[in-house]
Amino acid sequence: MQIKESAEVYDVIIVGSGAGGGMATKQLADAGFNVAVVEAGPFFDPADPVTKTQLKWPYESPRRGAGTDRAFGGWDMSWGDWDVEGEPYTQEEGTNFRWWRSRMLGGRTNHWGRISLRFGPKDFKGKTRDGHGDDWPISYDDVKPYYDKVDKLIGVYGTNEGLEDDPDGFFLPPPKPRLHELFYINGAKKTGIPVYPSRMSMLTKKINEDRGVCFYCGQCSRSCSVYADFSAGSCLIFPAQKSGGKVKIFVNSMVREVTTNEEGKATGVSYISKDDRKEYKLKAKVVVLAASACSSARILLNSKSKQHPNGLGNSSDIVGKYLHDSTGSSAAGVIPGLTNRKVSYNEDGTGGMHVYSPWWGDNSKLNFPRGYHIEVWGGMGQPNYGFGWDPNGFNKYFGLKVGGYGDSLRDDVKKYYGSVVGFGGRGEAIARKENYCEIDPTTVDQFGIPVLKFNYQWSDFERNQAKHMQDTFEELIHNMGGVPLSEKPGKDQDYGLLSPGQIIHEVGTTRMGNDPKTSVTNKFNQLHDVDNVFIVDAGPFVSQADKNCTWTILALSWRASDYIIEQLKQQNI
């Protein structure tokens, strides 16, 4: 089969349209460059009534919103999840990594929690701080101007609190706490756990004329049809197109490899069109990978050539190494003080939480480095499949009989509606070389592209951190006058620590550094080995922090884009 080659030479090809790819698209197109965006999934616009799930009622679905065809529930705006048909991945025996992929324009930004936390000064200097992991080659001061610009361009609510490691920004005012959050604030105060307004990228206030203001349906995970939350398609790629930028989007296009010339420089990409299952080639002066940390590593490792026999950018043999995800453990409790609620008002609020607890601990007294933050959930949300499944199961916590039928069920559903509060701990795992993804030489996907094999194991640091989370949650539930909904997971269950990958914050596979022997990119996200290839997803992260990674992906992608613009203008690349 002949590979179809396009004659056009783009200034930049961007692979992937999520947070990193979206930001690069916006910056590079606005700078006047001719940009091609190559996305493995189909086109998606949250405003399209055909694919929109926002404001749907459960009874509009024959399965009432059950998660049979979408792992996070039938309304979740992710096309693809732990398993993508025809695109397998494999595991090293005895290890378990779970890899979430969204195949659509905007990628995972369409359904994410939109928790938008800056890393703090300490987060960039882990090794200096406690001897674990490595320092980034950049500091908070290098990224701060970009965080500031991202805040203003995209919009994030929060408050300036002057916290050392949760720096201030340019925030929109947060929404008021909901009832269960007031209970949480009071409960946390009793043991000195700090609580602050959340920092989330929904517009509580207008930031421009192009995007709507939040109307508090609580459904950000469905992607917002008035563009009041941050999704890469609606907030970066569409505006880039509208502002006159030269942006060509190739959807349903699965990139196979970065192509190179005799000198070893990148010449473009080759991709398989999912529509006709034929291979195509696109040419460009610069290739920007933003396919998500593991996918970008996969593309590099599959881009073998005479000049790059170990894969592109992999002379160090570091591509795929230092993979790490946030730690996660959770608990929930039923709070008697929240039973028998008045349903007189609409409590949907913004999607996710209005308040949270940043890390407060003193590591010198703990048996793990770094920390975690607490995410809180609860409230009188939309009932969907599963609602009331065990309608009076909570009775067992109050010495009442569980089961039965008849009118008492109706009463119990109402009695307990909105009385459950849950906590998710999201913490920092130490990046280790021994945790990695690599190419599985025996397996290909349906496009014939070799797939990734994962090898990842938690260490006792992460387990000890999860134990600390569980102890904290127990205390919080107790402080709120509640009863835990399930038995506290013990050592045999790793204290409820979820599998690597399950928090969907995977980073670090193409980490940045000053030394080409121990890192893949330089401090501008540029491959050490090939100067016209950049990686702007979470691959270049040296460490994860106990913060969600999206805001940092956006800031670093913008920073890298500025560098690309400068280098292209000076004709250095």
């Binding site: 399209d48 055909v50 694919t51 929109k52 799930t53 749907k56 009874y59 679905s61 024959p62 009432r64 919103g65 059950a66 309304w75 500031d148 203003k152 408050t159 920004g169 340019f170 929109l172 005012p173 947060p174 929404p175 008021k176 706490p177 009832l179 007031l182 209970f183 604030i185 307004p197 509580t204 206030k205 207008k206 421009n208 004329e209 203001v213 508090y216 349906c217 609580g218 609620r341 349903v343 008002y345 609409n346 409590e347 609020g349 913004t350 939309q382 009932p383 499949y385 599963g386 609602f387 009331g388 499944w389 309608p391 067992k396 089961g403 039965g404 039928y405 008849g406 069920l409 559903v413």
Partner: protein
Amino acid sequence: MDRRKSLQTLILGGAAASTGFVFNACKTENGKTVDDTIAESSEKYFGRTPEELERIEKLNAEQLFNEHELETIGVLSTVILPPKEPHGGPIEAGVPELVEFMGKDIPTMAPTLLGGLMWLDHKCNTEFGTEFKSATLEQQKQICDEICWHDTEIALEKQPLEIQFFYVMRGLTVTGYYTSKVGIADLGYKGNMPNVWDGVPQDVLDQHGVAYDPAWIAKCIDQSTRGDIATWDEKGNLLT
């Protein structure tokens, strides 16, 4: 009346439409443009991809329960959650249709449901000489009373089939009712519509014995300014 069929028609109305003239992006029979059609019928879509719609069509083309079994499900669900004015009960909520769909959508549930329905008739025939759906409410309750409690200390799958069956049927009934139009009205859920969140009403705060901290509230959005475009000073203080 074949309730199942009418429900299918209702659901597939939207589904078939979107497969036909939206994803293929052609003109509809009456010559309207795709955009017009979407605008007119957007309330019928529920955001499925073509692959998801295909799967729903496939499931709808299969039949899990026969008519007798569907009627029995209807009767049992009504015993579990008796209708109450003005919001009706499981039948108005479409519970039998949901049980049929989920039994196919989550195939591991099917044997428990099918086996449980057989057990129900067998038990009723043995005790009262009649099948469950034709028994009196008293007789039906007598049978349910025996299987409606389960030992919460033992895993459900290790308990007798009839206990598992009742547990699943109760779950499907309650979830089916409260995810329906009538059930949501009965619950009183007020959300899923454009709204302006401005805090918990005072009477609710009072009922639960909590209050807003004035210092915290001062940082929150003044909803009268939500339409003003945000501007900051160089230190990040909001000016507008």
